[in-house]
């Protein structure tokens, strides 16, 4: 972040300006400083009050809870006591095959979803940017439309399109003598990926398209003069120039993917392939609100948080190194 030059003077600068400044001028300047800090506090306090209550205290509470447990004294009589259990909840979470299974599911989901999403959104943006597309504004609006469909409703629409008897898609396949079970054991993760791609493709395409529009036209003209065809221009000239957007989209896609909850939660109403602990987020919900095991839920939350931080950091580092190599 750059800070623009401004005429403001730090509090101790009056000393260097010395005798040139009269006592009353100094006082006026001090008063201005005070007014400014007052303004900063008024402008920022409401948001930081929210940040504290909605973010800092809950994260702290989650970490705290993960080290404690409500132990019931023998036979369940008497008051519950909260006792320090150290890493016991973490051990329980990390050896729980349903939690590890959930992590595996999300890993598989990310492995399919992330490349598919970034590549298809980028390809569509490059195609729209190439100038060869008819009805460009209409195409963009059409692609963007699913972003205005709430996640739960996107999942509902696709659930019906996956349901035999209602779905015209399955009917079409049936006419060609193909039976497809979209919610079977091998198809359920790709089916969820499809819902996510459908929902977010247009949004990410618009992000890439906006970045491509900001690429200086001279750069593209230069590459055409050098004899590069449209495909080479797109892949070797334009794509590297929008890397910042690609990284941003990748990180946000990853963060959202790790939270996977809404779609499997809805599909689980109709598919026996989705258990109540299908993804880490569903595991947390199940542990906290079905099994009432707060320590376990908190430990699982902290593990999920750590995975998110590690992966975001990894993506930034990975692309940062690529940038450094490019610079050499």
């Amino acid at each position: 972040m750059t800070t623009t030059a401004r005429a403001r003077v730090p509090a101790d600068a009056s000393r260097t300006e010395g005798p040139a400044l009269s006592a009353s001028g100094l006082r006026a300047r001090r008063a201005a400083e005070r007014r400014r800090s007052g303004a900063v506090i008024v402008l920022m306090a409401p948001f930081f009050a929210l940040l504290t209550t909605i973010f800092l205290i809950p994260v702290g509470t989650a970490v705290y809870l993960s080290f404690f447990s409500d132990d019931q004294p023998g036979l369940g009589f008497g008051a519950e006591r909260t006792v320090f259990v150290g890493l016991r909840s973490y051990a329980a979470v990390l050896t729980d095959p349903t939690f590890l299974g959930g992590l595996g599911t999300v890993a598989l989901y990310c492995l399919i979803y992330l490349p598919l999403m970034v590549v298809s959104a980028l390809v569509l943006a490059l195609l729209l940017d190439s100038g060869a597309v008819r009805l460009r504004a209409f195409a963009q609006l059409g692609l963007f439309l699913p972003h205005a469909v709430p996640g739960i409703i996107a999942a509902l629409i696709w659930l019906y399109l996956y349901t035999p008897g209602i779905s015209p898609v399955i009917d079409l396949f049936a006419r060609a003598d193909i039976t497809i079970d979209f919610l079977g054991i091998h198809t359920v993760v790709p089916s969820i990926v499809n819902i996510a791609v459908w929902s977010n493709l247009g949004y990410n395409m618009v992000v890439f398209y906006a970045a491509l529009q900001a690429v200086p036209r001279e750069v593209i003209e230069a590459s055409v003069v050098d004899g590069a065809g449209p495909v080479r221009t797109a892949l070797q000239v334009k794509t590297p120039l929008v890397r910042a957007s690609i990284v941003m989209v990748a990180i946000f896609t990853l963060i959202w993917a790790l939270q996977l909850f809404t779609e499997p939660m809805l599909l689980s109403q109709s598919s026996p392939m989705i258990s109540s602990r299908f993804s880490p987020s569903m595991y947390i919900y199940d542990a906290a609100f079905t099994r009432n095991n707060y320590g376990l839920a908190a430990a699982a939350s902290v593990v999920l948080l750590m995975c998110t931080i590690a992966l975001s950091y990894g993506v930034t580092r990975f692309t940062g190194r690529a940038d450094a190599e490019e610079a050499r």
Partner: protein, 287 residues
């Protein structure tokens, strides 16, 4: 790669056709499910299961609408109003708070500024599911579980809005304007409200729209906090009705009709505020 030589017209034409086919197929992929929703909303239950979508013989749009608002004593209308209240009011207040904070990050110098900003960015990354249990426990401590406030207060928090607010403030509000206002003797907050906020208008609308979408989509938090059906937003209500549909199929047409109506406000907002969010996307993406 085939179309490098402009004298070779044929490969170039083929390339152009391929490009258009790829884009057209993608647009069909995104549009057809929405079209299905519209068509399915006009069908009664039997026609829905016989899946002859294009026949207009059993057009029952009006009946489905009536059923939707009559089901379970008119719960759907209630949910719709709740969603509007959570989303419109929450996004309006949330956007004002975050943009004010982003503006302060851009225009003022103070100690630990970049550290505090780093904290804001960190908050963007934290999954909502991680915060849900502690928030539930805090709300239950404060006696707010199963009230309007349990959902409303957390949705006001929008750290990404602060990030956007800082970028917009740098782009839209020149420092000279602030200096001029100071020379004129205007107070800092007066300047913000009277001058800067007006210049930040498009940015404010963008943040509002993003937050509106997020709150309208919100599902996890209401599910954790609310047990009283009268407080549900549309998303949670439809989820619940859909889970009843496998037992009592009369819910299918109302769930589909309810989904269609729930999509409309966001589409309306996106179309009406189009020129604002486009600029917002650019600002968020390029930087």
């Amino acid at each position: 790669m085939s179309a490098t030589d402009s004298s070779l017209l044929r490969p170039r034409l083929i390339g152009r056709a391929t490009v258009n086919v790829v884009v057209a197929v993608s647009v069909l992929y995104t549009l057809l499910p929405v079209l299905w929703l519209v068509l399915a909303a006009t069908k009664d239950r039997d026609a829905l299961f016989s899946s002859d979508l294009l026949s207009l013989s059993d057009f029952s749009l009006v009946r489905n609408l009536k059923d939707l608002f009559a089901m379970d004593g008119g719960l759907y209308g209630r949910w719709y109003l709740n969603s509007l209240l959570y989303a419109v009011l929450g996004a309006a207040i949330g956007a004002l708070l975050s943009v004010a904070c982003g503006y302060a990050f851009d225009k003022y110098r103070f100690r630990h500024k970049e550290k505090l900003f780093g904290l804001v960015l960190a908050a963007v990354m934290v999954p909502q599911t991680v915060l849900a249990l502690p928030l539930y426990l805090m709300a239950s401590e404060a006696g707010l579980v199963n009230t309007f406030w349990a959902v409303f207060i957390p949705v006001l928090f929008n750290p990404f809005g602060v990030y956007l607010g800082r970028i917009f403030s740098r782009g839209y509000v020149p420092d000279e304007v602030l200096e001029a206002a100071r020379v004129d003797g205007a107070g800092e907050l007066t300047t913000y409200v009277r001058v800067s906020l007006r210049m930040l208008g498009p940015g404010l609308v963008t943040v509002f729209l993003f937050q509106l979408t997020a709150i309208w989509n919100n599902f996890f938090l209401p599910m954790v906090m609310l047990s009283d059906q009268d407080l549900y937003p549309v998303s949670l209500g439809l989820y619940q009705w859909n889970s009843s549909a496998s037992v009592s199929p009369e819910y299918y047409p109302v769930v589909i009709m309810g989904s269609l109506l729930a999509v409309l406000p966001l589409i309306l907002a996106f179309v009406l505020l189009q020129r604002f969010w486009r600029s917002g996307l650019t600002a968020g993406a390029v930087k």
